[in-house]
Symmetry: D2
Subunit: 230 residues, 4 copies
């Protein structure tokens, strides 16, 4: 594994915890950033992670986060952008502020974090930026315009960055997570085993992408439960 | 032509002028909305259009625009969202405010306008929303992350709306304009005739989509100069 | 309309009849080619079409067809490839001969016809080749591997031809017909009006694509009933 | 690794050799099938593979291959379809027989092999079918219609099979190999290191996909050299 230090942004979900565990087990140092770090202490202890409070939609807070990482000599060479916010509902009933928040959290924050990270990666021509997408990244669903806008935007960012930065040594990959993720508050019915994605299994695919040599980099990969309709 | 009144938002470009002319010729009333209406007087005179000053990224201004259309008994049954703003540059050099503006003008404004329009269309189960996309809607280019984010987001909005609203009588279509548009400030070199899209030709395709009966609606169509690489 | 003479291949369906009527009304001469011309006499009389017996999967028969058109001084500058054959069933129960036939009729015949047509179009740098696709062109469905293989292949042919031939004056377009087509043997239930594509409506969109000036050519367009899930 | 025995079809390329080595190292038994087995003896010795002569475009030969595997109690639970044939050239100069051969080798053979394999996998609800795609699987290039038709068709097959068979325990995955593969007869220039895909790196990604638990299966993944344009 050529990577040393991973920053995972948006640590609320089970996926971030599984990523932290998988990356730590692979020998990487871990930083966890989230709006609130209250619930991260156990995970931090388990993985040796440092935790940072950061609202990724705020430019100043993202700069402060990276300044803190710089100061700790922990400039990440892996960044996973794993934050998202979903507003649902009929188009005519959507609150515009919720649409803005969906785009800000799920896409614009990804830009801010990626930009700060890439500034530090480019001088060494080394680094990886991994974006967590969803079914909505490639298919705009009814009653879900804000998430479609946000996740499409994040995919556009990932594609643009992959085209711009790959040849400068930065591996950019977009993961289309096409299904629900198993978690503390969400488990599958007994008659439908493995119908939700196991976050540890997702993390194993993120880790695989990090292990790819540069002659065969993945820029997009789908992950889907065996019984999921698509 | 079953449509009566078209609102065209973002009238700066040659495309909006051509749309206004084509729609007026087809018998529709026209409203033109733009941040500044200074340069619209001649077009308004030519097409009989009313003009409205509106920053489509501002919810209150969009509401005011539609209130004015309501007051004039000109509720549009066709809306073309034709506004966009492009910031270019290497990812690490982009100004975050410019990224926000790209998304706001090119995508979020489209949501605000579409929402206000659809609220008026749904009770009559009749209306059409046309979104102007670009090459960047389906391919994220290097040095162009903000436009990729914005145009991908607009396509996500169009898809989500098409899935939600088609069966309620609202025709939603997304046009992938894959090339440069001929205009006052941009013409093709003599040795490359028709290498830029003629805005009148684009307008003819928008008009065709409006003429489609509901058994055969287009939700996405590409338009590209014959010599364009893709 | 800059086109003079249209060859429509695969005239069994209601779509070909509607195309013949629309093209004839627009002033074009018409040739209809099908394996059996038995049922074409009324349509031929109505549209002034000539009819030709041709199995488009057989190279010699396609050559003979075009030789006959040459001899009649009717070299078509528009060709619509509208033949297809669908074999359904679970993968493990499919008859390989049926799979071959699906590919031969729906895709390979399209190549043979397009090649013969383009040979005659290129010297004049003028012509159009229109391919009829289906939902299966962009989404491979369960229990339908042969049609997925064939319609994907036809789309690959259309894309390759568009990239190769557009700049030589040949307009190549692929129509994704995403729904069932209304016909003599298939009509919609009374409670689902316009839930099948009206072939006359489809034909109107084919005609529109033929009317596009070369600065704004469509290479792909979707057509779908307003109530169709997608 | 839950898989026991891998059949790799189309062993001419460096990719098949790398797959055989990677799978053997992971503990799987290996069968290699190709039209000619002459050049496979060293690889067979190295990996403990059995070799079989088989023209995958011929139904009878594919049946004979699987009967031989049955007789040897080596029914594969992994099949990689790695055969392809590419004919290039201007559309009007293509030999129809070469087009047919491209489709037969690159796509129809994939159907025959997959069908025979799945018949043996379904009773145990266990197995994996991996298809090797190319840039041409998702983009039809000029001067390359036969390969576009064939590789699009193979992708259609993979999608249809994934939708039909995943929930029955068969993992179907399509790999978009977007670049040239390094090999005995093809190496990169010294100033462009890693500009061709290392087949061992590709094989590592195939192996990873086989290791995925069924809650998070990949059905499509792109692999591309860091400096490749796309």
């Amino acid at each position: 594994m050529s990577y040393q230090y991973a920053l995972i942004v948006g640590t609320g979900s089970g996926l971030s915890a599984s990523l932290a565990r998988a990356f730590a087990k692979a020998g990487m140092g871990i930083a966890l950033a989230a709006r609130s770090t209250d619930k991260l202490s156990q995970l931090a202890q388990e993985t040796g992670a440092k935790t940072y409070s950061c609202d990724a939609t705020q430019c100043a807070q993202v700069e402060k986060l990276f300044a803190a990482l710089d100061a700790a000599a922990c400039a990440p060479d892996v960044v996973v952008y794993n934050a998202s916010y979903r507003a649902r509902g009929a188009l005519i009933e959507l609150d515009p502020a919720e649409v803005e928040k969906s785009i800000a959290v799920s896409a614009f924050g990804g830009f801010l974090v990626a930009q700060a990270a890439v500034r530090r990666m480019l001088p060494r021509a080394h680094g990886a930026i991994l974006f967590t997408g969803a079914s909505a990244s490639v298919k705009g669903y009814a009653q879900s315009a804000p998430f479609a806008m946000a996740k499409f935007a994040l995919r556009g960012l990932a594609q643009s960055m992959a085209r711009e930065l790959s040849s400068q040594g930065i591996h950019v990959a977009h993961f289309v997570i096409d299904g629900g993720i198993r978690g503390a508050r969400r488990s599958e019915p007994p008659d439908k085993p493995d119908s939700l994605l196991d976050p540890a299994a997702i993390a194993a695919s993120y880790l695989h992408v990090l292990q790819q040599p540069r002659s065969a980099w993945t820029s997009e990969i789908e992950l889907r439960p065996w019984v999921e309709k698509f």
